[in-house]
Amino acid sequence: MVVDASPVKETIEPGQFFNIKCGESYFPLLRRPFSIYKINDTTLEFMYLVKGAGTKYLTRLETGDKVNLFGPLGKPFSLEQSYQTILLVARGVGIATLAALAQKAAQDGIRAVAILSARTTNDLLAAQELQEFGAEVYKVTEEEGTSDVANVRKMVNQIMIEHPIDAVFTCGSKRLSILLQDMIKENHIPGQIALEEHMGCAMGVCYACVCDVKEEDAVHSVKVCKDGPVFPLEKVVLK
């Protein structure tokens, strides 16, 4: 979905999201959060997977229709100037979230290597986009039997041998995130994760979207909508 971004005065950064009203009545009632997928000069793009009533409504919108967006919300990914090569590992629509980051990396002259995981090759629509942004893309799917954690571990290892990776970014899979938590610990590199959680307010007031973060052995609760959705990968408690 491409929207005219001219009414948005704030700067928008990869990892942030908009909370979108998907319908005019009280059903769907709550807004739906969607990450920024592509940031263009005058437009913004979102990529979504049709899941339930909210996303179904979006598919019925036609060119020229108005959408009610609330945002940009949340903390973006941060790309350090010192990074030369970053690794992106995404699954499912998590790819949408990391696409914006690949775009930014390309602009900043940072090389991105991406492992994209999905159920079928057909679900890997954004792979093309990432490649266009100059990312080196590896695809794994259930269909081909390549998406299991063991295989991804092997691939990450192989990539790390080929390129020194300065930071890891992930979104969309708990299993892969746990794997990456492991690997960044082993390899002493930083990581960032974009989390998803069911939201109420998306403004940091209702405590619907909490997750646990470990800070020097003490676990505390943070809000995905306000403190995130991007968190240091090593700190989040993935249950």
């Binding site: 807004r31 307010c201 619907a208 979207c209 609760s221």
Partner: protein
């Protein structure tokens, strides 16, 4: 009809510039970016507990037809943090602050009320005796008449500031609970907290909120809340704050006609972050259109039934 209607209301001694305020738990400091808190009838921060509480398992919200279920579980940083960080934050606003308290025992309610009432800019206390999310089974003090009486009585003993009891809709007779509050010395009633509810994902068989059951809010519950307001209005003389499903100014007017003096807005803030201001403007426009000069011209004004 060009006179500007007067929207001021009084809730048991607490004077408000208008009858629109947030519902506890659906409002907080971070909303200052989207609305001007000074335009609200009052500000009501999330219910506070004595000790820090982690709250319930996620997912904590899910959607139902025309409503949402929440099972936050009163996540809270505890009263000390509240006194040090949250209450002081609101000092800069002119809208009076109503402090919502959740506690696990009657004594704890009294103790917390005493402490919080001492803060000068706390202008009233709302006792959340109705949260269905504190215990796993959805039970609340406000389901028992005798407990409610004792609780309000104890809190009445520790402060002269207005006490508002937030009632639960999950009872056989809200009139009995309302009368118990009145006799025990409450100054106002909030009608009401959320309806205990549950939703199950038929594909995964999992309850849609982590705590299995939670509280239903939003447009779906409004007809139940309007009925409860109507019943309470006839059972007691206490001013009523209507709460549950107020999405528009007309919803607020409907509750006022049933007997509410003011309304709280929860879920609507999530749908439209500026909802409370919109609601306020719609109430004003309605009053002008009908030539009403004050809120009292609406409260309890539902037409008497014509007998057949």
């Amino acid at each position: 009809m060009s006179i500007n209607p007067n929207l001021a209301v009084n809730i048991g001694g607490l004077q408000l510039q208008n009858p629109v305020m947030p519902a506890s738990g659906a409002f907080g400091e971070d909303m200052e970016e989207v609305i001007d808190f000074n335009r609200l009838g009052a500000v009501v921060p999330k219910s506070i507990t004595k000790q820090p509480r982690g709250g319930n398992q996620t997912p904590r919200v899910c959607e139902t037809y025309g409503g949402m279920i929440n099972s936050i579980g009163i996540q809270s940083k505890g009263i000390n943090y509240y006194l040090k960080h949250i209450l002081p934050y609101y000092q800069k606003y002119q809208s009076p602050l109503i402090s919502s308290i959740s506690a696990e025992s009657i004594d704890e309610f009294a103790e917390m009320s005493e402490t919080i009432a001492e803060v000068p800019h706390v202008r009233a206390i709302e006792l959340n005796i109705s949260c269905p999310n504190l215990k796993g089974n959805g039970l609340a003090f406000g389901m028992d008449e005798a407990l409610t009486y004792e609780l309000i009585r104890k809190v009445r003993g520790v402060t002269d500031k207005p006490i508002i009891a937030k009632l639960t809709p999950n009872v056989t007779s809200i009139q009995d609970i309302a009368r118990a509050c009145e006799e025990a010395g409450a100054d106002g009633l909030n009608v009401a907290n959320t309806m205990l509810a549950m939703a199950i994902d038929v594909e995964s068989r999992k309850p849609k909120v982590g705590n299995i059951m939670g509280g239903l809010s939003g447009p779906a519950v409004k007809p139940i809340i309007v009925r409860l307001i109507y019943q309470v209005y006839q059972a007691t003389k206490l001013p009523i704050i209507g709460c549950g499903g107020v999405m528009t100014g007309m919803d607020a007017i409907e509750m006022m006609l049933a007997g509410a003096t003011a309304v709280q807005v929860g879920t609507a803030n999530f749908v439209t972050p500026t909802a409370m201001i919109d609601i306020l403007e719609e109430i004003k426009a309605y009053m002008k259109r009908h030539g009403l000069v004050c809120i009292d011209d609406i409260v309890g004004g539902v037409a008497e039934p014509v007998t057949k």
